[in-house]
Symmetry: C2
Subunit: 422 residues, 2 copies
Amino acid sequence: MNKAKLSTESYKGVRDFYPKEMALQLYIFNNWTKTAKKFGFEQYDASVLEPAELYKAKGAENEEMVNEQTYTFIDRGAREVTLRPEMTPTAARMVAGKKRDLSFPVRWFSIPNLYRYERPQRGRLREHWQLNCDIFGSTEEVADLELISLAHQLMLDFGATEDMFEILINSRAEMTALFNDLGITDVEVINQITRLNDRKKKISADEYKEALVQILADETLVEKVSKLVNETPETHDTITKLRDLGINNAKIDRTIARGFNYYTGIVFELVDTNPENNRSMLGGGRYDNLTEMFGDEAIAGIGFGMGDVTMKDFLITHDLVPASVYSTGPTVVILPLESEQNLEATKIAHTLRQANINVATNFSHKKLGKKITDAVEQGTKYSIVVGSDELVSQTFTLKNLKETSEQVGSIQEIIALIHSSN
Amino acid sequence: MNKAKLSTESYKGVRDFYPKEMALQLYIFNNWTKTAKKFGFEQYDASVLEPAELYKAKGAENEEMVNEQTYTFIDRGAREVTLRPEMTPTAARMVAGKKRDLSFPVRWFSIPNLYRYERPQRGRLREHWQLNCDIFGSTEEVADLELISLAHQLMLDFGATEDMFEILINSRAEMTALFNDLGITDVEVINQITRLNDRKKKISADEYKEALVQILADETLVEKVSKLVNETPETHDTITKLRDLGINNAKIDRTIARGFNYYTGIVFELVDTNPENNRSMLGGGRYDNLTEMFGDEAIAGIGFGMGDVTMKDFLITHDLVPASVYSTGPTVVILPLESEQNLEATKIAHTLRQANINVATNFSHKKLGKKITDAVEQGTKYSIVVGSDELVSQTFTLKNLKETSEQVGSIQEIIALIHSSN
């Protein structure tokens, strides 16, 4: 037997979720689920393991991404496997696989964990969770509006107000038309500008202009493109329609591009207005050709992803996590005074559970006071001490740990007391 | 761009969860969660990725298991990584890592997905989910009883009755004492018999006896061991105490061994009494030395795992899945008659959502009848048609799709109708 001491650290760049961290994680997942269902989205899931070809299929750019930024390995059957880095290709694969059986429009959501092989740095994890919401099988503009409305509602359902975040909208198709109006028609040039715009907020104005000169080699054109990208149109049809749906914090931002090369129409991001959190919290767009890679027939899609790490940062920065989230303990803790009462205490716990009450028994040898402190720390509401006196008289004391009040009665009376106070 | 047609199949040996399959999966997970909380267990989680050494640490037998039966690969930082094949080592790692901060006994549960590199065959998947429940920091017998009581309650909370399943109990320590009584004291011989007993139900009586002769080379001893292993003691302290806790379908089974070599005390399995499902549904036991590998101080543990695949088989075989589980649709579907009503329909959906009603809009170009059939198939309760007449009069018809009854009113009246019928 190997006696070397093993490390208790997790693998590099991933997180352990102890009960309190898990509670916050579940609070986020449950809120996401509730809001997605409010919009009629159905939940789906798939394995973390996907054939590597799923991510390579969109050409050389993706091949590089798969080789350098994903966990990809060869299994014993010589299959190349990737730990999914994003969910949209999986959703597209599943939709394409059952397109004959599905009733479009299909509204799907999932909360997958995703993997990226990145140099670990602050806030850049190798594993994170993401809410993915997609509508398949509709090219209607109203699908775009609905999805942005869902993004907005997700924030409101956490108690956020419109001043805390902003929705930035752009359109790949619209940008192409605007570039064409300026005489820029070369697809490769447009792609280069798009990629540059995607980085614009991370570089200085001078760096941006310099890079634009490199691409366009024409001072006048550089000025025109700069002006176009920097201006926010005062009126815009999408923004007007979103106002009709109660959304007042959306605006056009010509720099929004989204990294993935499968977007074809509208693209959008949701950002925290607090400058401390400058990363995008949610990003998505329309991708009308993605399912093409599975066959001849394309199914239109529009979707977004929202990460757990940025969501957590947002909720903490804006003080939106209710304290009750961290109550991970049961409703009642039963405290046998001596080991001799362990079995009787467990029987009482059993009786309470039959009445649908969440109960734990603390049969450790710690002092009673310490056991009560531990219960309070877990958010447990009541304690019941079980000693020989209580067992002889069959009369127990229900102690309310929050109000430090007490009530006395038989187990059946105590069950009634607990039920009546909920 | 690669134009080769990609497969829509998932990776070999894993499952896609379309909404109805996901609904059943979530029904199981939610029931598991509810029952675990009834016993005061707190939820935790960790990454699928673990350092490979976590599974190799218990010696050569495990080293072989890691190399041949797990997904293990080398990352770009030359770290050996394993996709977790079981959760107990992760739980032990996390408990050992925070042992100064945790208040024992710690009751933890998790629903991880686990990976095994196995030859795919019927019912043997490479990825499955498992409920893991563990109590750390207690050597009290009552902890063993509580955990078996939890296993029993998990089944009851799915609507199972005691005739549908059986709890088989054994004890590693007790078996060692019984073997010692027969004069068998060599640890390696006892381990050999234990491993043979673990396979006993899968081989014939003759094969069992033959293997026993190989191990013991003594006819009289073979007879004695056979007798010992085959008999179910009529009275047993553990069984008596479990009866006190309302459990009448537990019995001693001397063949129960459990595969993992970290068990030290009680071991148990839960099996379906229907002969069609002969696999163990739940297995666990006491492992008092597992955290030793992280340092000098051992923390006692007892736990079990319960798989999603066998659980599903059980529920389906015994007809325990309520039909309502498969209702994945929203409460209301709004049906615009023409594309021109899409935006107004979406506004009405928005108004209903503000009243906490789950709503989808079906803006496809299908016939109304087909849209209603689709909604019924998803378990949607109501439809509201939105045409130009309805928009002019601001009077809408709420159609109950289950009772095929109708009620007419303004949107606010319809909201009141929906709320009052829930």
